[in-house]
Amino acid sequence: MAQVLPAERDLRRVIGDGESVPDGEVDGLAEDDLLALYRSLVLLRTYDERSVVYHRQGRIGTYAIFWNHEAIQAGSFHALDDDDWIFPSYRESAIGLLRGMPAATVLSWWRGHPSGWWNPADYNVASICVPIATHVPHAAGLAWGKKLKGEPGCAIAYFGDGATSEGSFHEGANFAAVMQAPAILLCNNNGWAISTPITAQTRAQTLADKAIGYGMPAARVDGADVLAVYEATREAVERARAGGGPTFIEACTYRCAPHATADDPSVYIDAERVEQERANECVGRYERYLQRQGVLDDALMGEVKAEAADVMRAGIAAAEAEPPADPALLFEHALVDPPDSYSTDLAELRRILGG
């Protein structure tokens, strides 16, 4: 049995504040690695900010904002190998970009266009999961399957604080633990499930405490500290690969943006707190860290941001250039072996549409 008690109460941090709190460092991260992390952070930040703009311009549909969650996503991603499977929720919609998925694909998904489809096996990135926590058992199952086959690779599932109230979270976590599956359950605790604060979600002192009940080790990290997230995930991945089973990571951040473009948090959120958190958001914190380390200057910063902006410009252009989806796509991929009704329904639809 792995040691599961006590769960960590203090948030792990690596990045200091440039004043009284000194910077730490993570073993084994060279300058190139630090900059690769930075590029991922900036790509995600740019994706998110541009997507909100595209939504306001009517170019994509309702969009789930992940501003100030980039450190959780990029930090954990960089602890993975290409063999490892990612199970994103809608909050991690763009994480596939870090595996080389075209921005147009994810933008198309938010445009409600079938060109937003991808083959999960092409990137080892599962489809974006909308119903809360229901992908946690998928990650457990995939990881368990990898273990049964003796194949390398683990699975990481991303979900929010509200997800830990769902039955699927419990069933998935328990399956992962019982099967000693090489899985990482990464909870981005941003304090809010739409308008419901964490205090109305649970009486547990920390979400990491829940892991104890599954016989699962847990870590708590500052979710705005990309290096702390990286380090905690790397430990979890190493444990998974060594046959130590799943790990629960609670990455704490604060939701500084609406839940989604359709949400107006002004009716429930504390605006002052949001301002404080925004001042200490995760990308800026890492920039200042890298500057203190002397590995990032203004020129490089500008270059990285310009590259990310180019990715998004090309991505939205490609997404908008997609021709309208053919109604045949309603039927084409629902079943490998479709019933006769699909062809008769499509023929009738085409006749009525005059196609």
Binding site: P137, G141, E171
Partner: protein
Amino acid sequence: MGELLLVEAVNDALHVEMERDSSVMVMGEDVGRAGGVFRATAGLRDRFGADRCVDTPLAEAGILGSAVGLCMAGFRPVCEMQYDAFSYPCLDQLITHVGRYRWRTGGKMAFPLTIRMPYGGGVRAPELHDDSPETYYVHTPGIKVAIPSTPADAKGLLAAAIRDPDPVVVLEPKVHYRSERAEVPEGEHIVPLGQARLAREGDDLTLVAYGAMVPLCEKAAEELAPEASVEVLDLRSLKPLDEAALLASAAKTGRVVLVQEAPRTCGYAAELAAVLAEKALLDLRGPVLRVTGYDVPYPYWQIEDAYMPSVARVVDAARKLLTF
């Protein structure tokens, strides 16, 4: 192979398919050490090991949800839901993912999983061991549904489900798990999905049924024999439906009584009635009638016989239609 009970035929299918394909694994509550509460999976753990016949935690959404992940890892999971009414938690995964995931990947990823469960009443069991939940499954896009009524079909339909590239739900009439032995082909045996079986030929009226209602309809047909020649159509597969067989029988007899154990409203018989209304109207000599469970919760067993469609109720409906 000789004569087998229906539950033995299920067990035989699992042995044959697991032997044939090492990616097939059985998972569920009590399926391993105990061999299933009905012993449908008996012997599998000894034969194929605890990793291929897995006693899972007691969590139906977890079973089906992890089966989705196992499909992604290249397995063909066969999930047992211990009872019909205990399967409801798995509907969460079934509706939100199992029926949709392939479409979501643009057809790039297949989910060849099977869900099998005992279903139906008449076994004098406690509450929630008696339901006929087929409509929930049939109504979910991306899912196929089969229900055998004989031991040979129980083997053949389950084997077809396991080999099918799409998710298939197989409901097994538990009241007939051990009611009768019948001939079952040895070794590999497939009954393709979407092919109905004419259980009894007749000219005057068709009883359409599936699962446990088929033997009941055969008895009703026998009772009606002195007054009418009654055909019994065993659908075997609810989705895809063998529409041609349904329409052919309706055209032949002109009178159709649909029999289901599930509650009436929006039950599978309602779908069949709609198909007949759309495509067989001019072949019919009278209204399409339904004999079904009532729109009430499945009752305690001291009064379940009053709830269940009976030979008397089927005969009564048939006579109404024959004298319409």
